[in-house]
């Protein structure tokens, strides 16, 4: 048995990561080995990040876990808000929808005690707002908005965002064409050019 060093930390990790609480040393040893080999939560997350629709059986094979363990791990990750949601990246334009995306720089006057957080919250609660980042540099918030038309978005900025107390300026940029989104190239023409069989 080789357990030593950061025993407490490892013990803690195994307890958090494993579906069963640590009962005996053998199980701990096994789990440690597994963790060492990298068949870990990180790997599960990486797999789900790229394709959340992978069947549990497939995940189990790849992670060398049982299906029960995989499902339990996923539930734990969801409960701990490490997994926030499962989204699908859709090319709506190709489907036939015309939407307008605007990227808006907003300058704010920070408030005592809460800084930018309270105003940010007032902004991110709108359904129209897809993304909000607090930024360094010449403006404070970067907000991405989706609307049905140019008018729709302009209207929202003018009547809802610009009028919020503490918002001192807004600059809107309309997105013309997406090339890559969240790591995915929109019109990727690269394909498999290999021979069917090769030595």
């Amino acid at each position: 048995m080789f357990i030593s060093g950061n025993y407490a930390i490892i013990y803690e990790c195994v307890n958090v990561l494993s579906p069963r609480p640590v009962q005996d040393e053998d199980f701990l040893y096994e789990s440690l080995q597994r963790a060492e080999r990298g068949y870990s939560m990180r790997e599960l997350l990486e797999l789900l990040e790229h394709d959340a629709r992978r069947p549990v059986g497939e995940l189990a094979s790849m992670l060398k876990l049982s299906e029960y363990e995989v499902e339990k791990n996923i539930k734990d990750l969801e409960k701990n808000k490490i997994i926030l949601s499962y989204n699908t990246l859709i090319n709506w334009e190709k489907f036939g929808d015309d939407t307008v995306t605007a990227i808006i720089e907003i300058n704010l006057t920070p408030q005592r005690e809460v800084g930018f957080d309270a105003i940010a919250e007032r902004i991110y609660r709108f359904d129209e707002v897809r993304t909000v980042y607090l930024m360094s540099g010449s403006f404070d918030l970067l907000v991405i908005i989706e609307g049905k038309s140019l008018n729709d978005v302009a209207n929202f900025v003018a009547t809802r965002l610009a009028t919020i107390e503490g918002v001192t300026a807004t600059r809107s940029h309309f997105m013309l064409k997406p090339y890559k989104k969240d790591g995915v190239i929109i019109n990727d023409e690269e394909r498999d050019r290999r021979l069917v069989v090769s030595p």
């Binding site: 497939e58 992670l63 069989v197």
Partner: protein, 394 residues
């Protein structure tokens, strides 16, 4: 005078002695199907990482279109030497110990031609890559197959090698991680082989093209990094597999200055130099490519576990491969030869793989499945193979 020459009689006896590759037949059938899933491909499904491709494009814009030094660009040779120092703590001299070649294939060919005299015997553990035998014969040598056993996970032992060594044996040619079996040799395994090589005073050619692709706890052990082995080893490696650069045709040989000089002599008269475009890209691969390589290796690892689990569950005997991107299940339980199995599977279920017999006689009874294929395709291929097993048994 007849219109046509009798070419068959006029071809070199060495060429006539070589059997054409057994893979061709499957290629022809598979090429006519449009829904074929191929587990028969011996190269990565990834395209070369963009930063490497981009550096080549930039190089072309900057006018890198000339010959290079016969041995390869100095900066590339230096990067190769740095890599071996960094990873295996093995010291090579960029000026004398490195030759950049047109893939490992060329390196293997000229290594053989540089050292073999007619009748010299080359020990080749099988199953192995298809060109080992052919390169030996073309260089005037005699290939001596040493069958590896599935019970031993296709590793080779000194006891097995001892049975085939004669006073004519000059070279031991090994390729681990192995194509087609996915076998690796641990440090202990290799040390035993090193003792054997020393005992019989053999040159060792070590083809480590899959060296970056190992999985689990076992790290790849570079043969020339073993004690006393550097001088007797010709180490072959390249960029094709780890950096997904097969079509660039770029590899290298490392070894004793005299043998590298001899190989360079052949290289300069037959190849002159490796393409400069590929050399520029290879420099970028070694300087900045490791993170992309690691990502690809992690992906192969997941596929490896998936395909191993799938094949095992459907009752095909196989050992868990620890390197390269192949798995080599036994299909003996079906009653078919590996050739029949591959052909019937292709016609019935449109899944292409390569019969084990293509990699040496002892590969008979096995098939090689490559998992350098997207996960959803592997899953679908597994379904089809399972379906095939249900409906086809001799």
């Amino acid at each position: 005078m007849a219109d046509k020459m009798n070419w068959e009689q006029r071809l070199s006896p060495a060429v006539n002695a070589i059997a054409p590759s057994g893979i061709r037949k499957f290629f022809d059938i598979a090429a006519q199907m449009d829904d074929v899933i191929s587990l028969g491909v011996g190269e990565p499904d990834f395209v070369t990482p963009w930063s490497i491709r981009e550096s080549c494009v930039y190089g072309l814009e900057q006018g890198y279109t000339s010959y290079t030094a016969n041995r390869g660009m100095p900066e590339l040779r230096q990067e190769i030497v740095n890599l071996f120092k960094r990873r295996y703590n093995t010291g090579y001299d960029a000026n004398t110990d490195v030759l950049v070649t047109v893939g490992v294939s060329e390196a293997l060919d000229i290594a053989m031609r540089a050292i073999l005299a007619p009748g010299d015997e080359v020990l080749i553990p099988e199953p192995c890559y298809v060109s080992y035998q052919a390169c030996t014969i073309l260089a005037g040598g005699v290939p001596v197959a040493v069958p590896a056993k599935i019970e031993n996970e296709f590793r080779i032992t000194p006891e097995e090698l001892e049975q085939y060594v004669t006073d004519k044996t000059k070279v031991l040619l090994i390729g681990y991680p192995n194509n087609p079996t996915g076998a690796i040799m641990t440090r202990k395994d290799l040390e035993a082989v090193a003792d054997f090589a020393e005992k019989h005073d053999l040159i060792v050619i070590s083809d480590e093209i899959y060296g970056d692709l190992t999985y689990g706890d076992e790290e790849h052990v570079c043969f020339s990094s073993l004690p006393r082995m550097k001088d007797r080893t010709i180490l072959l490696n390249g960029f094709s597999k780890a950096y997904a650069m097969t079509g660039w045709r770029i590899g290298y040989a490392l070894g004793n200055p005299e043998v590298i000089a001899a190989m360079t002599k052949i290289h300069q008269y037959t190849m002159l130099c490796a393409p400069i475009t590929a050399q520029v890209a290879a420099v970028e691969a070694l300087r900045h490519g490791e993170k992309y390589m690691k990502k690809m290796v992690a992906e192969y690892d997941r596929r490896r576990r998936l395909i191993y689990d799938g094949l095992t569950k459907m009752g095909l005997e196989c050992f868990e491969p620890k390197g390269a991107f192949y798995i080599f299940p036994s299909i003996k339980s079906t009653g078919y030869t590996s050739d029949e199995f591959a052909e019937k599977l292709l016609t019935a279920e449109h899944v292409a793989l390569v019969p084990g017999s293509a990699f040496g006689q002892c590969g008979e009874g096995h098939v090689r499945c490559s998992y350098a294929t997207a996960i959803d395709k592997i899953s679908e291929a597994l379904n089809r193979i399972e379906n095939f097993l249900k409906n086809h048994r001799k």
